[in-house]
């Protein structure tokens, strides 16, 4: 169990390690610290958004050991020692991920608030299933609510990314 440290005011904090986007961060968190808040406030990774904070909207989606989860329903201490990918970790070698490029090209972003979560849900899908059907794409992002562009362009963007991967030189 994570080492506990009690400060002079009697507040107990726990020493945890979060492996975020490939970097190990050792952090002091209270037991009730929510993963979304720790990512945003202690690690300045503000790409992870706060929406409903109750696991309905998906704007706080991160990958936990490669799987999409609502980080608003995860205690930071529960993620101790685990691998987390946020939207900041999707870019590689200074280049946007193919899904991000495709979402730009398909105008799949309006206000942008749902976009980080959408990208991560899509990324997890394409890693697991490189050639999804449209139905599978819709299902994979069904836990991510978009309230402006609608889903048509987002689904098109993900489908195009998947099809683009048939020719690896494409991006």
């Amino acid at each position: 169990m994570a080492q506990a440290i009690t400060d002079k005011d009697g507040v107990k904090r726990y020493l945890i390690t979060l492996n975020v986007n490939g970097d190990a961060h050792t952090l002091l968190v209270k037991g009730n610290a929510i993963l979304t808040n720790v990512l945003r406030e202690q690690l300045d990774l503000t790409g992870t958004k706060k929406g409903c904070e109750l696991g309905d909207c998906g704007s706080c989606t991160v990958l936990l050991d490669g799987k999409p989860v609502d980080s608003c329903l995860v205690l930071a201490i529960e993620a101790d020692g685990r691998e987390i990918t946020t939207i900041e970790g999707v870019m590689e070698n200074g280049r946007l991920d193919a899904i991000q490029e495709s979402m730009i090209n398909h105008a799949a972003v309006q206000c942008g608030y749902c976009t980080p979560g959408m990208v991560l849900s899509a990324k997890a899908l394409l890693t697991r299933n490189p050639n999804p059907s449209e139905q599978e794409v819709r299902e994979a992002i069904s836990g991510n609510l978009c309230r402006c562009t609608g889903y048509v362009h987002i689904v098109e963007a993900v489908m195009a990314t998947a099809q683009g991967r048939l020719t690896p030189d494409d991006h």
Binding site: N32, I34, G55, G58, P68, V74, E78, S121, S142
Partner: protein, 288 residues
């Protein structure tokens, strides 16, 4: 949204978890996937002094085949159930029910044990597990006991789990059933609670049913089995009228309430239709 602070425990074994729970009594709440417990803490419905996390109890995540039964660890996530080759092969209706549960994000966090212990009448896994005659194993510092899942619920959010107990395993006995199905009507695909749902398992023998179990969700204060409808089916020639009659009897036995998701009358209608359709689907599967 604020989560009230608590003392955190992360025991390394079931025995250690039980010892902590025995010592803390009603001051402690068990944390599994967190999708219900943290939700309740955020909306102010729950503020435990102590939270006992089961995250280190990896032995409770297994889904395995044993002589005479399939055992599902209580910490298996909904997506683990959905993607389990073993369950897809043995009881496909269960992975399909797990898939209707909620969004992918929630299905990666939430556990089958949590879905059961939470005790709500709209839970997706208990109906099909009861239709498959599942039992549960409850462990405490005083020992272990098993009970049919059917006997576990006794009112909305009321279960027979006792203070200090942890739900550790769910067991599905090998059975003669030839088909099973879970049909749910929800208002949206993702995260939608059932407006009404029906789970059935059937044992088809030629033109008649040897055995049948029908379980309803969101149709009464608790998940219920409708034995009157079951009895009406056994030994009689299977045809559309027979299944329609069973649907009618299931609807009569239900006692749904008016809520934001649907009126009682509407739900009773849904029960009738869903029961009939679920029976047809399970029977056709039985013939296949």
């Amino acid at each position: 949204m604020y989560v009230p602070d608590f003392e955190y425990h992360a025991p390394k074994s079931v025995a250690e978890a039980c010892a902590i729970l025995a010592e803390l009594g009603d001051r402690a709440t068990v944390l599994a996937g967190g999708t219900d417990v943290l939700h309740k803490m955020k909306v102010g419905k729950l503020a435990p002094e102590h939270l006992v996390s089961l995250k280190h109890l990896d032995e409770l995540r297994d889904i395995r085949e044993e002589p005479g039964r399939v055992v599902i660890g209580a910490l298996a996530s909904h997506n683990q159930i959905y993607t389990s080759r073993l369950l897809q092969r043995r009881y496909l209706s269960l992975p399909m029910a797990a898939h209707t549960m909620a969004s992918n994000q929630i299905c990666n966090l939430g556990t089958v044990g949590g879905n059961i212990v939470n005790g709500v009448p709209s839970a997706d896994l208990p109906p099909i597990l009861i239709a498959l005659n599942a039992s549960i194993r409850l462990t405490s510092a005083h020992g272990e006991r098993t009970m049919p899942l059917e006997d576990f619920f006794h009112g909305s959010a009321q279960t027979r789990i006792e203070q200090g107990e942890i739900l550790t395993e769910i067991e599905i006995p090998d059975q003669a059933s030839t088909g099973s199905t879970y049909l749910k009507f929800g208002l949206r695909r993702s995260g939608a609670l059932a407006v009404a749902a029906a789970a059935v398992s059937v044992q088809v023998a030629g033109e008649t049913l040897h055995g049948v179990r029908i379980v309803l969700a969101s149709a009464a204060p608790t998940v219920i089995r409708v034995t009157g409808a079951e009895r009406s089916l056994v030994g009689r020639r299977i045809d559309d009228d027979l299944l329609a009659e069973a649907g009618y009897l299931a609807a009569q036995a239900s006692s749904p309430r008016d809520s934001i998701r649907g009126s009682a009358e509407y739900r009773r209608n849904l029960v009738e239709v869903l029961t009939k359709r679920a029976l047809r689907k399970a029977i056709d599967e039985g013939h296949a």
